[in-house]
Assembly symmetry: C2
Homo-oligomer: 186 residues x 2
């Protein structure tokens, strides 16, 4: 028997994306979003209300970074999702984050988060509030690599549970993808 | 030290979305996609090449369902992502899936997958190949509920690892979201 829940924004797993930008003074900011995904081979889509300081910043700077939230920093990652930089201008610092400017785009890399997508703004649609970024580079700390490749067992990315308002880490491998070598999505 | 990987469609976690549709004869089809996310309180976005039989079907029927892939059916879920219904018309059956028509939309629910978003087509953009669906209902088997709510520990949704082409189950809870009760995304 199935239970019906009506129209709900329920999906599993949802990512926990930490989006980092510089404001007009070069002060780093960060927020947390679950509504986003890869939307092409070199693009990421984020659904962000225009009220966010992040949106103001990325429209001005034409760049942002996205780091998958990891289990080691879950308290800080939740904090930047709950508190607005419009009210707490130094939220980035209060979260315990430190920034290094990306080599590739005009946006901060959060030193504490080991994997980052460095993006330039491609478009922002005011009606849908969808941000599209072109992924210029992906960087990752050597501490999360195995044989020179990103290893999710070391990265420990977390997922958002939209029903119970919780974060879960990623678990063990349960299978291989593309058993005959074709691509999944195309 | 960070290693740079260049422009890559790397993100963690990525969902494994099993999209089900009826064709013009009422035959159910299913495919597997990692590029999709919630894009509003009642909407889901999927990035799907127009060549897919699924896209032909959902444009004709104006409806589709999305079930998060679960650990129990990983072989079938990978199979429907690798094999095209344009070449193997009975792939749905070959995957071992059985369909029940949704009560709410003109699309099949896959009996074997315990949670499903039932959607009507809102738009398909030929240029970006983005499908937007309005979520009319979310349904879930009682077997994956705890206290009447969807429980990810029972659902066992899987995530796609785009670097190592693997599927991982969701692991343990590592924290609560929205500690002060504000919403994460808005």
């Amino acid at each position: 028997m199935r239970k019906n829940f009506g129209s709900k924004a329920f999906l599993y797993p949802q990512p926990v994306l930490i989006i980092a930008t510089y404001d007009e003074n070069g002060t780093p900011d960060a927020m947390n979003a679950a509504w986003g995904c890869i939307c092409d081979y070199d693009k990421i889509l984020l659904c962000l209300s225009a009220e966010h300081k992040t949106v103001e910043n990325l429209l001005a700077r034409k760049a942002f970074t996205v780091s998958p939230a990891d289990a080691a920093h879950v308290v800080a990652e939740d904090y930047v999702g709950v508190v607005s930089a419009n009210k707490v201008p130094d939220k980035f610092k209060k979260a315990g984050f430190h920034a290094t400017k990306s080599e590739f785009v005009d946006a901060p890399i959060i030193n504490e988060l080991p994997m980052t997508l460095e993006c330039v703004l491609e478009s922002f649609d005011k009606e849908t509030e969808w941000v599209v970024g072109k992924i210029v580079n992906v960087s990752a700390e050597e501490s999360v690599l195995t044989d020179e490749k990103i290893d999710p067992a070391k990265l420990q990315p977390i997922a958002f549970d939209p029903v119970n308002y919780a974060y879960h880490c990623l678990g063990e491998k349960v299978g291989n993808a593309f058993k005959d070598g074709l691509t999944l999505n195309q």
